[in-house]
Symmetry: C2
Subunit: 323 residues, 2 copies
């Protein structure tokens, strides 16, 4: 294996930026993690990345083949301009061109969920599979789709907004403005919101949950709901039951539409609820079209927080080397 | 253009079988249409196809490069075995092998909706577009997805069951056993069922509709509902409003998940409701994520009944020739 094919992966989010050296074999070699200086604007964040890349290069004998960046936002294809990144409050930032100029290295920028999907596909739970869906359930929900061995990007590079497939057109309001999106059931913010709403209607039943939040309704998070449920609180368990029913309906949609071989579930909410993998698998078996779910495997994501940098580095390797 | 690249397309459904000669340019040259002898079993239906192919070959100076068949059912990839075709009552019929043996020509068998999508993509409303969704709304609803220039087939060749994406998990019961599928709102059978159900609850308001059905509730079809609505009947118009709201929710799902450039609407129900194209386009503009629908065009299918044979012939051309 050509040593010169090592690449750099960057995972750029609203709270932290991770920059990693990844070998030609796709394995993580070293990773730097820093808080994102959102308040200082794009120039400062780009400078952080440049500094981290320099640090990673010091330990290497050769130059990297290129840099891949996954960012939580909408990215223009080819140009790598970040059209909009809500968590960073960026609009039309030419991230790819800026980093290329500063680093004198080839740079490719993509959406973070697409990068994570590529990471899981190549090095994680998706290995050896040409038809898969990755669904990442954190505060929000996003996804990536591999069909026939291609990672789908769509017409304007935004394919995979799987959090915003409707499962109940009369259901709870979503952040996107519509009703009953998958995310409005099973996203972390929705789980917390549902618990708070039900607590308001029925304070008695929610006492155990409220206690875990130190009596502060506003402090109830998805994490606290999960904790309460795992401690046996029926109120919290019912909240999660509503969430998982929405998740099952959403994954059944995806299975019927795409007929994947593998459905990979990851993200912070899933990390706290490993039992949901089997719940979703069972829900799909019971509800999806038998022909569409015949060969389906439902499994947990394997790379955790590393998927983003590994996937971004893989994208750089595919884009800038022959391997 | 090599004349030897002409192919034969077959569209095999429960009521009729169409067999056509299609030129190397993808254009329909001649078509034969016969009723499907379902009651006589697979052998008789296959013999009908063989006879029609012989008839089409008589007028040609060269042998066709191959035969493509689109069938309303589940087809095993590669082997072309028809696993299940409900309208023909076929189970595990080796259609591809049987026809190959009888015709002494290369044969490829696929699902009818996939063939229709290929036809619209190459010769119809999808020309020049690498990211599109075809949604066919007839008695049932099916679809085909082209993403990044590839027609998606899925893990077990059943991708595109777009009639069975849920839009309302508490909604009306679907034939598949679940609740609130897109098809259970906007499929022809669902439109008729909704009209009949509402008529039972409120016979007074449905009088105009009932009259069009000669007073026979069981005779109310989607076609009659559309006719009544077009004649100004508010009862029928409300039924169609429920259907189109489901259709909008379903298409918004597809746009958010796939980010297509073009959404092509076809099938018998759409043929009767050309005004729905603009309704759906407007609904998507108002409800889909702006980034996912930015460049989207919503248009009617262009090939009508010819799409099936044209697409099946195109599949044969791609499979068996270099063009």
């Amino acid at each position: 294996m050509d040593n010169s094919c090592w690449t750099i992966g960057v995972d750029l989010g609203g709270t932290k930026v991770e920059v990693a050296r990844v070998g030609a074999d796709g394995r993580l070699q070293e990773r730097l993690r820093r808080p994102t200086a959102v308040q200082d604007g794009p120039d400062a964040v780009e400078q952080e990345i440049v500094t981290a890349v320099a640090e990673l290069r010091q330990a290497a004998h050769t130059a990297p083949a290129g840099v891949g960046v996954g960012i939580a936002g909408q990215v223009a294809p080819d140009s790598g301009v970040v059209r909009f990144a809500p968590n960073l409050d960026w609009h039309d930032v030419p991230l790819q061109a800026d980093l290329h100029q500063a680093l004198k290295l080839p740079v490719v920028v993509t959406n973070d969920v697409r990068a994570i999907t590529l990471g899981e596909w190549e090095q994680g739970a998706g290995q050896g599979c040409d038809d898969l869906i990755c669904l990442f359930i954190g505060t929000g929900i996003g996804g990536g789709i591999v069909s026939g061995g291609n990672l789908l990007s769509g017409c304007t590079n935004t394919a995979g907004e799987l959090g915003h497939i409707t499962v109940d057109m009369h259901g709870p309001r979503c952040h996107c403005g519509r009703r009953g999106c998958l995310e409005a059931f099973a996203g972390g913010w929705a789980i917390a919101a549902l618990a708070r709403d039900r607590l308001e209607l029925d304070p008695e039943s929610g006492l155990a949950l409220l206690e875990l939040a130190d009596g502060n309704v506003a402090a109830i998070s998805a994490k606290i709901v999960v904790q309460a449920a795992h401690e046996g609180d029926p109120f919290a368990q019912e909240v999660l039951e509503t969430a998982v029913q929405g998740l099952i309906a959403g994954t059944v949609n995806l299975v019927n539409a795409f007929n994947p071989c593998r459905l990979i579930l990851g993200g912070g909410v899933m990390d706290g609820l490993p039992e949901w993998v089997e719940r979703v698998a069972q829900g799909i078996r019971e509800n999806a079209l038998p022909a569409a779910s015949a060969n389906l495997e439902v499994i947990a994501a394997a790379l955790g927080d590393d998927a983003g940098v590994i996937g971004a580095a893989a994208l750089a390797r595919h884009t800038f080397t022959k391997s």
